[in-house]
């Protein structure tokens, strides 16, 4: 399990349930590495500001993370973390490698609107 304060997605079933129960979802799929940690930190801070979005993480090396690794939107990705934004269960945006809080905020505002 990743050492973050975010909701942890541990299985394919939990991933499906999260998407079913929440309209707007952001999942960061990574490891406890230098490119991933800043993204988790930004998400932890944004969680308090964006009440309309569910923020979660998923361990990249867990077999069930194939639900993210194998997404067509992530086909060209070669840098951790893979971050996927879902609206009503559909992928609306995906990014590869480190992103700043500013870049994440821009994506959240564009696709989910501000809370």
């Amino acid at each position: 399990m990743l050492r973050t304060n975010l909701t942890h997605v541990l299985s394919e079933q939990e991933h499906a349930k999260l998407l079913q129960e929440n309209e707007n979802v952001m999942i960061c799929c990574g490891r406890m590495g230098p490119m991933c940690i800043p993204v988790y930190e930004s998400m932890e801070e944004l969680e308090g500001e964006y009440k309309n979005i569910k923020f979660a993480d998923m361990e990249f090396d867990t077999p069930d993370a194939k639900v993210i690794r194998n997404l067509p939107e992530c086909r060209s990705f070669q840098g951790l973390p893979f971050v996927v934004y879902y609206k009503n269960g559909k992928v609306v945006k995906a990014t590869s490698s480190i992103q700043s809080k500013e870049q994440i905020t821009e994506i959240l505002d564009e696709h989910f609107g501000n809370n």
């Binding site: 490891r31 230098p34 991933c36 940690i37 800043p38 930190e41 070669q78 951790l80 490698s97």
Partner: protein, 317 residues
């Protein structure tokens, strides 16, 4: 919300957090303002094995420990914000952040650190995370049995080139000079690795691809000849640049945009000190940043105490 502090530390890496620990423990009311994630370049280090007293620790864990230690002593830390305005020349220093909050203090310690230098060639932004990486331990395994380039000639470039041969079938080191800056043993290790070859005196001038990176254009620095090369990935380790853009014209910098300080780590502005990777110095290590943070904190504490004494004397008279 409290907006006035004794000292504001700008930057939450090893130097800034150390300053926060020392100042807060000395009951100096301190705020750390940090633009990125707390920990700075330290977080980018997978394993730190030469921090005295700790045999092995990840950069992330050391940063987390320092942060929690500073907070336990009462230091306020605000991270992931953007500093929009700096007024350091007045007696009361003023720092404005992106949500328009203004923080004031008697003294400021600049510990803004550095960031990875980028090549700046067309396609670099587009293919970041899609073939271009700045972290071998993070992304190396995406290049299993692939052909990759490592750009750079310093210790990091040579060391990471060797470590990437665990995954890649072939590693080509591209370096702009005819010699390496890395320590000899790193160079030797790379030279004796059969998977590594070298392209010297050359620079990447363009990254090419479609959905992901598929090639680069390399220019020889002497002949100016341009060669196209098919490649699966490029890892860039060409050093760091100090985060001092916002300080230009405010604090005295040298030609490399590093902050000039005296032995007490005071800058040219009274009450403004600097520490860590953003100052002019030769060696940039977690331990040297920690030492800088300590010196800057003690200097700033002395400066603040003198101001407070003067204020008390003025009130008494």
């Amino acid at each position: 919300m409290q907006n006035h502090y004794d000292v504001i530390v700008i930057g939450g890496g090893a130097a800034g957090l150390t300053a926060g620990i020392y100042l807060s423990r000395a009951k100096v009311n301190t705020l750390i303002l940090n633009e990125g994630a707390v920990g700075g370049q330290m977080v980018l280090t997978h394993e730190i094995a030469n921090y005295p007293g700790i045999e092995s620790i990840s950069g992330y864990e050391l940063a987390r420990n320092m942060k929690s230690q500073a907070q336990k002593f009462g230091c306020t830390i605000k991270s992931n914000l953007k500093i929009t305005e700096l007024d350091l020349n007045s007696e009361t220093k003023k720092v404005t952040v992106n949500n328009k909050d203004v923080y004031t203090a008697h003294a400021v310690i600049i510990a803004t650190g550095g960031k990875s230098r980028t090549i700046g060639a067309p396609g670099e932004d587009e293919f970041k995370g899609k073939g271009i990486s700045y972290c071998a331990t993070c992304d190396g395994d995406f290049f299993q049995d692939k052909e990759i380039i490592v750009v750079g000639g310093g210790n990091s470039a040579l060391e990471e080139a060797v470590s990437l041969t665990k995954y890649a079938s072939k590693v080509t080191i591209v370096h702009q000079f005819d010699h390496f800056q890395a320590f000899e043993h790193y160079v030797e290790e790379a030279k004796k690795n059969p998977k590594i070859n070298f392209i010297m005196e050359s620079k990447i001038i363009e990254f090419t691809g479609d959905e992901k990176l598929t090639g680069v254009k390399i220019q020889h620095q002497q002949t100016k000849e341009i060669t196209a090369m098919d490649i699966d990935g490029v890892f860039i380790f060409i050093g760091y640049v100090p985060n001092t853009e916002k300080l230009e014209g405010i604090v005295e910098l040298n030609d490399w945009k590093e902050i000039l300080v005296d032995k007490n780590l005071a800058t040219n502005i009274p009450g403004v000190f600097a520490a860590g990777d953003s100052i002019a110095k030769r060696y940039r290590q977690v331990t040297t940043a920690v030492a800088d943070g300590t010196i800057a904190a003690l200097s700033a504490a002395e400066f603040v105490n003198n101001i407070k004494k003067e204020l008390l004397l003025a009130q008494a008279n």
